[in-house]
């Protein structure tokens, strides 16, 4: 369970207020461009400081912790992999940060890459892979991090509709399998309809919800005017 307790985030003139509790499961975050969706996620991951308020995960206060000590993994819109490192080296960075990829680490990486369907690409550079394969590699790293919360800041927005849909399905099934809470930012209400999930709506400088997806997407719902 994630609890935003009277959280206020200021970025220049922009202010976002969040006061909500998010239960375990798959949650989409929908709103206009510039509404503050990424700001909400980055405040949870520790990449954005709070002006006031507190954030709790399962009764533990996390807003004072640095990003790497929070129970969250993030996949950003871009720069999710170091382009000069192979996939094995990229994933090794969360396997103990050694100066080289050990045999044991490689085995572990191979296993997780199998889960996301790109085991054969272990020694490739990100530039030698498609956008979808890169997203799968980033997802594999998240699985290795073993954090209970996964934050997805529109990582699939540059992909085609089929690839995007496939990856959302994959994230959903992995989240079920590993018992991970997922917060997925999207512009597209279809993404929310694709899987059973809740929905946070960010508008008018506030994060609202979470709502049942059907409620959020209904004609009189909080997304009225956006749909």
């Amino acid at each position: 369970m994630i609890r935003f307790d009277n959280v206020i985030i200021n970025i220049g003139d922009f202010q976002l207020t969040v006061n909500m509790t998010v239960q375990k499961g798959f949650v989409t975050v929908i709103g206009h461009s510039g509404a503050g969706k990424s700001t909400l996620l980055l405040s949870l991951s520790g990449h954005q400081d709070l002006a006031s308020g507190k954030i709790f995960v399962d009764q533990n206060r996390i807003d004072l912790l640095p990003p790497n000590q929070r129970p969250c993994s993030v996949i950003f819109q871009d720069f999710n992999l170091f382009p000069h490192l192979s996939i094995a080296e990229n994933l090794n960075l969360v396997c103990g940060n050694k100066f080289f990829v050990s045999k044991a680490a490689r085995k572990k990486i191979q296993k997780v890459l199998e889960k996301v369907g790109i085991a054969e690409l272990i020694d490739r550079l990100p530039s030698e892979m498609s956008g979808g394969q890169q997203s799968r590699a980033a997802l594999a790293r998240v699985l290795l991090q073993r954090n209970p919360i996964l934050l997805l800041d529109e990582p699939f927005s540059a992909l085609g509709p089929n690839q995007k849909s496939e990856l959302i399905e994959l994230v959903y099934s992995l989240s079920k399998e590993q018992d991970i809470t997922v917060l997925l930012i999207t512009h597209d209400p279809k993404d929310a309809k694709q899987i059973p999930c809740h929905c946070i709506v960010v508008k008018d400088k506030k994060a609202l919800g979470p709502f049942e997806t059907s409620e959020a997407l209904s004609e009189d719902g909080p997304l009225k005017g956006y749909l």
Binding site: S45, G46, H47, P66, P67, N68, Q69, S73, V74, F76, F79, N80, L81, F82, H84, L85, E89, L93, V94, N97, F99, R141, Q145
Partner: protein, 478 residues
């Protein structure tokens, strides 16, 4: 005698010291003005003409930057000296010969080194003008002068004062050129006067006073230049070349300008290769000993410089690292010598002191190469690094060094080449026993062993260009 009192500090400057200050300013002003003015038509010609090998021409313009000063001076003496090609031609037509020793020799050498730099900066400025603007102006069928004022004048107005200031500052503290082509009461710079007080008069107090004057002069110019230098103009690499249609007259004129410039830059280098190659295998062992010492110092200094550069890739770091521009090698060397003199024999520390001073001299260039990509790394990968907890030594190993390997290779090459050709601090610390290759060449020139000096100059050029090429290649290959 001129007495200057300032905050309890008093300087006693003789008339010869004042003459040195005046000469320093005069030669720097001539050098800066000529380099800037002559660079304009060359940059313009390169911008508007497209021809096979154009990239190579632009690349050659970078050669004087890493060419050891003593080699260039030798080459210039062969071409412009008393028995050089130019004076033979002038004699043939009954003109007065060109005097390579003295003011005009110093200016000529400075123009040789700085003209390419000025050309590259102006070319960069001209290339930064959007292509659409060119198309628009050209479609209006304007006269040559109207085109010039519409397209080129705004760029030149912006970049030329900056170039002038940069070249002026460089020439103020140029030592090796003044040492080899200057000298005497009429052509002594402040740097040379420091060396003379040190080496010939053994008047350390005078040397210290002059060093203070030199620091004040360069520092004032650096501070003053901050008001006219626009950051975007202090570039000169990765040039995008743009060209557009032109008349036959412009074409012929441009090619003439480019050919003359190339002859001016490449002839002194070529003559060293031509005349030096015969004697390179029969050089005395002392030259090879000096070459080995030069390589050792260059390696030590380049690694020191790049290590410091990697630690100073921030805004404040750049300011700290750039102090080396204000304090020349001779001033640094003189200061270090005086400091060490109180504790023991400074000559015993010739190698580490020379390497350290050389490292500090190349540091501003190294920082300029490393800082932009280092900042890019911090911007692009900060979120990801923080998200996965990659920090400290692991971040340096996996991200910083690996992403920077190309600029690190380039910086190592540049620092090694600059150190290899340096004839600054070693003239204070060097001796018959401890001599780098540039010092050895200077000694050979002084004893009129021109053939050996030429062969040694060729060896030095090969080492300077070779070290640059090897490090740059390693950086690209890794």
């Amino acid at each position: 005698m001129f007495l200057i009192h300032f905050s309890g500090l008093s300087l006693n400057l003789t008339s010869s010291d004042m003459a040195a200050i005046e000469f320093t300013f005069v030669q720097a002003a001539y050098s800066a003005t000529l380099s800037t003015v002559l660079a304009i038509p060359v940059a313009k010609a390169l911008q508007r003409q497209n021809f096979w090998g154009k990239q190579l021409v632009v690349l050659f313009l970078g050669a004087p930057f890493i060419l050891p000063v003593i080699v260039a001076v030798l080459g210039l003496i062969l071409v412009f000296g008393n028995n050089g090609v130019i004076n033979n031609i002038l004699n043939f037509f009954g003109f007065e010969p060109f005097k390579i020793y003295g003011l005009w020799g110093v200016v000529l050498a400075h123009v040789f080194f700085n003209l390419p730099l000025a050309i590259r900066i102006i070319l960069q400025g001209l290339n930064d003008v959007p292509g659409e603007q060119y198309r628009l102006i050209l479609s209006l069928k304007l006269s040559l002068s109207q085109k010039f004022f519409a397209l080129d004048w705004p760029v030149l107005k912006k970049v030329c004062p900056s170039i002038w200031a940069v070249v002026f500052a460089i020439c103020l503290s140029s030592f090796a050129v003044a040492l080899t082509l200057g000298g005497g009461p009429k052509a002594t710079t402040v740097e040379l006067a420091i060396y003379q007080s040190f080496f010939y008069d053994l008047d350390f107090a005078k040397a210290a006073q002059l060093a203070l004057v030199q620091v004040f002069l360069v520092f004032s110019v650096v501070v003053a230049s901050q008001f006219i230098i626009r950051p975007e103009t202090v570039l000169g690499l990765n040039i995008k070349i743009f060209n557009y249609s032109h008349s036959r007259f412009e074409k012929i004129l441009d090619f003439l300008i480019i050919v003359v410039t190339l002859l001016f830059i490449l002839t002194p280098i070529s003559v060293i290769f031509f005349f030096g190659s015969a004697g390179i295998f029969s050089l005395p062992p002392s030259v090879f000993k000096a070459a080995i010492l030069s390589v050792q110092i260059a390696l030590l200094s380049s690694f020191m410089s790049v290590f410091l550069g990697l630690c100073l890739t921030t805004k404040i770091g750049e300011v700290v690292g750039s102090l080396g521009i204000a304090v020349s090698p001779i001033v640094m060397g003189a200061g270090t010598f005086l400091m060490l003199k109180n504790f023991g024999n400074p000559y015993l520390l010739a190698i580490p002191v020379t390497a350290t001073v050389n490292a500090l001299i190349s540091l501003p260039f190294v920082i300029r190469i490393l800082k932009p990509p280092a900042e890019e790394i911090r911007t692009e990968f900060d979120n990801l690094s923080r998200a996965i907890g990659l920090a400290g030594i692991y971040w340096i190993w996996w991200v910083y060094l690996r992403r920077l390997k190309r600029p690190i290779g380039f910086s190592l090459g540049l620092a090694a080449a600059l150190s290899m050709g340096d004839l600054g601090v070693i003239v204070l610390f060097g001796s018959g026993e401890i001599a780098t290759l540039p010092l050895k060449i200077y000694q050979l020139m002084g004893s009129y062993r021109l053939e050996e000096a030429l062969a040694s100059a060729l060896l030095l050029s090969l080492l300077a260009f070779g070290s640059f090429a090897v490090f740059d290649r390693i950086g690209r290959m890794l």
